[in-house]
Symmetry: C2
């Protein structure tokens, strides 16, 4: 049994969203599963000493043009969120709470969150919207609400985010295949080749 | 006659080098020529408020791994320069001096500089090495030496670098096709599709 591909992303990352629509099929083609790992990019930008992408002069403007164009290039639905980027802490907490109970359901939740933010114009920074999305895929509202306030869930999410940063993960998507790191939607071609044979 | 593709790059940029080995053939396939435009990335990083790539925590380490891997992926010779990154002012000046006399020769010079830096381990920040490379492709040593001291050549190079930054060009390679900007070696696939038909 080959190790799962590690797929790190921020729910507010356009390139993370684009990659999320491809990563499972790409992995399955090579007999791999995917370990989905939402992170928060804020601390990574702080560690790098750089402003966040959308707020970086020159590059930020370019990226707002590149997001929808890259989506069109890959044939993926995309509507630039008006509020952007946003905090994705609540979504990450619900994800990790769900993952401990049912990983498949957590992945379904992640896809639902991405779709809500990048297609349906839902502001996923609002805990109430996140709760609704979890309910939509079959969670009980009271349980989700309690999970969001649960210190153990908060701690686990923090540990995941800090653990990723400690491993040097600074962007989204960031994909690790058998220890080899690939950053960016535009590295999926290299990920695919690597899965065939490391080069 | 279709407009040439604008190809901006820094001679010290690994991804600029990788793209330089492909851009002419890609353009020719679509009946286009390429306007090669060396720039200096230092002022762009300053404008963006970010450290230069190789000196950025986390991302810098990753990039040192990605440079040679991307070269292998594309089947392009690559040896990581020991001195890196370096000032490319002298090379840019000789390029623009040559371009005013003979654009084809300027492009040959650019390819020679890239090969020297990224394959042969020559430190292209040293004016004497840049002069040797120009002589190698048929320039007269005295003329190159004089050009490097020529105020008009210095001014033209400065105008090119500042003009690019004023147009929002912040990275290398940065390719403009009929006004549409593409940043990165990993956007050559989108450049190609755009040349077929804007999307």
């Amino acid at each position: 049994m080959k190790a799962p591909i590690e797929f790190y992303f921020d729910f507010s990352s356009p390139y993370g969203y684009l990659a999320s629509t491809r990563i499972d099929a790409l992995a399955a083609k090579h007999g791999r599963s995917v370990s989905w790992r939402p992170i928060l990019l804020g601390p990574a930008f702080k560690a790098m000493g750089t402003p966040i992408l959308a707020h970086t002069p020159l590059k930020g403007d370019y990226s707002m043009r590149d997001f929808p164009r890259s989506a069109r290039f890959h044939g993926i639905a995309y509507n630039q969120p008006e509020q952007f980027p946003v905090s994705t802490l609540a979504a990450a907490r619900v994800f990790y709470w769900l993952k401990a109970r049912n990983e498949k359901m957590a992945i379904t939740f992640a896809k639902t969150v991405f779709q809500a933010f990048f297609v349906d114009g839902i502001n996923i920074s609002e805990p109430e919207r996140v709760i609704s999305l979890a309910v939509e895929i079959g969670c009980r509202e009271g349980e989700v609400r309690a999970a969001l306030e649960d210190q153990a869930v908060k701690d686990r999410t923090k540990a995941e985010v800090e653990g990723a940063l400690a491993k040097g993960i600074f962007g989204s998507p960031y994909i690790v295949v058998d220890g080899e790191p690939f950053w960016g939607m535009d590295r999926l071609d290299q990920v695919e080749r690597w899965l065939e044979k490391p080069f």
